[in-house]
Amino acid sequence: MLEAAFFYLFGGLAVVAALGVVMARNTIHSVMFLIFCFFNASGLFFMLDAEFLGIILILIYVGAVMVMFMFVIMMLEVNFARLREGFLQYLPIGGAIAVMLLIELIAAATSGVFSSKTASTVEHFGREVNNTMEIGKVLYTKYLLGFEIAAIILLVALVGAVVLTLRSRKDAKYQVISKQVKVRKEDRLRKVEM
């Protein structure tokens, strides 16, 4: 009972926050709503006894990803009012698809195929299970291949970002240390007749 109440609390707030992300006029507010949404999602993880995932969600998404979002938004100075121009034009078709999808999702959720046995959290109550350790075990054994591919994906993302943005600018002032070390007194000093 209490569990259900908390589920609806977190779930409901997450939905409200998600709506806020798309509705907010100010982009910074959108990001704040997104952070709020992540907190609620992490609450849902806690309720599933997946405390490790819950903490990770806050640490990585709220702590790192969202901070980066903030930086990008503040630095790019995108004109978001202009991005919204086509909003009314696309509303009818977009809205129709959204409503259709909502009906289908509700039908899917209530069709009973997601049986209660998979949704139940009660079965591992009272068992000596260390969430973090279990994830670690599975990650480095069964999902080792996926883990390694994910590592390569991160490497590619890094290389790609550098390749696309690194440009040597002609007007940039570089410090060439070897030149600084080699410089002699005669190069810099000039005797001036007074």
Binding site: E104, L105, A107, A108, A109, S111, V113, F114, T118, N130, M133, K137, Y140, T141, K142, Y143, L144, L145, G146, I149, A150, I152, I153, L155, V156, A157, V159, G160, V162, V163, L164, L166, R167
Partner: protein, 486 residues
């Protein structure tokens, strides 16, 4: 301390050997590039080609007649995966050879070749996946590299624009795919294709909305990756904006990987939904053939034209998947193999025509080519006729195989629509030949004279003709490649 036992059972790694070689070499090239002086950066390309050749050798040596599992059954090396890997590596070698001249003046070419290898690695992992996680990760690795490669010429505005469009739409498609996968996971409690297939089979009621939604989202996500209409919007822009060798590469390799994994998913994970996915695929195939072949007529830029041509061709390839069974899947492989050569050949000619500042991209640029370079003109003519499906070239047998498979599987109307659009498509391919042979020269030709490229064009043209005259060996190989899955 809890009872952690060391060592963990060490995973079987022999079937993954080609992937390991590629991954290590891609990283070695990335670092080696730093120590190469500027005039020798081209060596990274040769190292990448050597890596591909070693990977081919390793694939041939490790692939046996039986399926070999690795990593707790999440990775499989069977003849199907082996054959599609050979096609993917072949497409990558083509892409690198075509890049040699084209990218010479660009900066950071070491990273360029290493990203191509990483992309190839993603596709190789994808076709061997027997688990949705590995499939998705392979797909993302491939796509992420391609986003960067499309936008590689950052100073060219349309290149950056193409990359951004491709990236945003690609991310959306990935979300859809993941959402679909999450539905199937919720239903079956497993991410392994076989376990999902079993769970769906025992579910009984497959008309349930949850199953349909999962299926639709997965198909939508994958259809985007192989540019099936109506998920094709990004294709013309990305093709036009990308550096031409990358256009050639992404016109073939991701399609091979995408169709291979799509076949594996429908065979292993969704066998009980055959009626549903055949209906969806039929619409996608008809739409793709229609959009691809009709919209291509209006294009003046040959890269855009070939983009629409790709959309048309994936519609045909999908016919093989719709037909199903050994005949359908082997027809799909035949088509992919032949398409690899036709498409790469056509793009090689386009790249050879690149002039200082002007790229041979407009159809008008081809006018009168036969008088200046009869050899290139003949090769381009062969590729265009083959793409159109004119008899006794490779492309004819590819179309023949999928159409016959569709008819045998009882999809007569689809085959008829296919023939109709194939006839429509022949118009714009043959129009290129008309420009080459019957029009007057309008611009001065100045071909780049790279012997490696010329040899590539010659070999490709010979292969296309050879497959046209002796299609049986290829068809037998493709049939044998199905040993593992059907």
């Amino acid at each position: 301390m809890a009872n952690i036992t060391f060592p963990f059972p060490f995973p079987v790694i022999l079937p993954v050997l080609p992937e390991i070689i590629v991954a290590v070499m891609a990283m070695v090239i990335l670092i080696w590039d730093l120590f190469l002086p500027a005039e020798r950066k081209q060596w990274t390309a040769y190292a990448a080609i050597a890596t591909c050749l070693v990977a081919i050798d390793a694939t041939l040596r490790t692939t046996g007649a039986d399926a070999q599992m690795a990593f707790y059954g999440q990775f499989v090396l069977d003849p199907f995966a082996g054959f599609t890997k050979l096609l993917i590596i072949g497409a990558t070698i083509y892409g690198i050879v075509l890049s040699l001249d084209y990218m010479k003046s660009e900066k950071n070419i070491g990273e360029y070749y290493s990203l191509m290898l990483f992309s190839m690695l993603g596709m190789m992992l994808m076709v061997s996946a027997t688990n949705f996680i590995i499939m998705y990760l392979g797909l993302e690795l491939m796509a992420l590299c391609l986003y960067v490669l499309v936008g590689y010429q950052r100073d060219v505005l349309r290149s950056s624009e193409a990359a951004l469009k491709y990236f945003i739409l690609g991310s959306l498609a990935s979300c859809m795919l993941l959402y679909g996968i999450s539905f199937l996971y919720g239903l079956s409690g497993s991410l392994d294709f076989a376990a999902v297939g079993q769970a769906l089979g025992s579910l009984g009621d497959n008309s349930s909305m949850a199953v349909s939604l999962g299926l639709v989202f997965i198909i939508a996500g994958m259809a985007f990756k192989v540019s099936l209409a109506p998920f094709h919007m990004w294709t013309p822009d990305a093709y036009e904006g990308a550096p031409t060798p990358i256009t050639a590469f992404m016109g073939v390799a991701p399609k091979v990987a995408g169709f291979a994994i799509l076949a594996r998913v429908v065979i292993d994970a969704l066998p009980s939904l055959q009626a549903d996915y055949v209906t969806i695929f039929s619409w996608l195939a008809v739409l793709s053939m229609a959009v691809g072949n009709i919209a291509a007529i209006a294009q003046r830029n040959i890269k855009r034209m070939l983009a629409y041509s790709t959309i048309g061709h994936v519609g045909f390839i999908l016919l093989g998947l719709i037909a199903g069974g050994p005949e359908g899947y082997s027809a799909m492989l035949v088509y992919l193999a032949v398409y690899l050569f036709m498409n790469m050949g056509a793009f090689a000619i386009i790249i050879l025509m690149r002039r200082e500042g002007i790229q041979g991209e407009l159809l008008d640029d081809f006018a009168g080519m036969s008088k200046v370079r009869p050899g290139y003109a003949l090769a381009m003519g062969l590729f265009m006729f083959s793409l159109a499906g004119i008899p006794f070239l490779g492309g004819f047998w590819a179309k023949y195989a999928v159409l016959i498979a569709a008819v045998h599987a009882g999809h007569l109307y689809l085959a008829l629509i296919g023939i109709l659009f194939s006839a429509v498509g022949a118009f714009y391919y043959i129009r290129v030949v008309k420009y080459i042979y019957f029009d007057e020269e309008r611009v001065a030709f100045d071909f780049s004279e790279n012997p490696l490229m010329q040899a590539t064009v010659a070999v490709t043209a010979i292969v296309v003709v050879a497959i046209g005259i002796f299609p049986q060996p290829l068809m037998d190989i493709c049939r044998a490649a199905l040993g593992g899955i059907v």
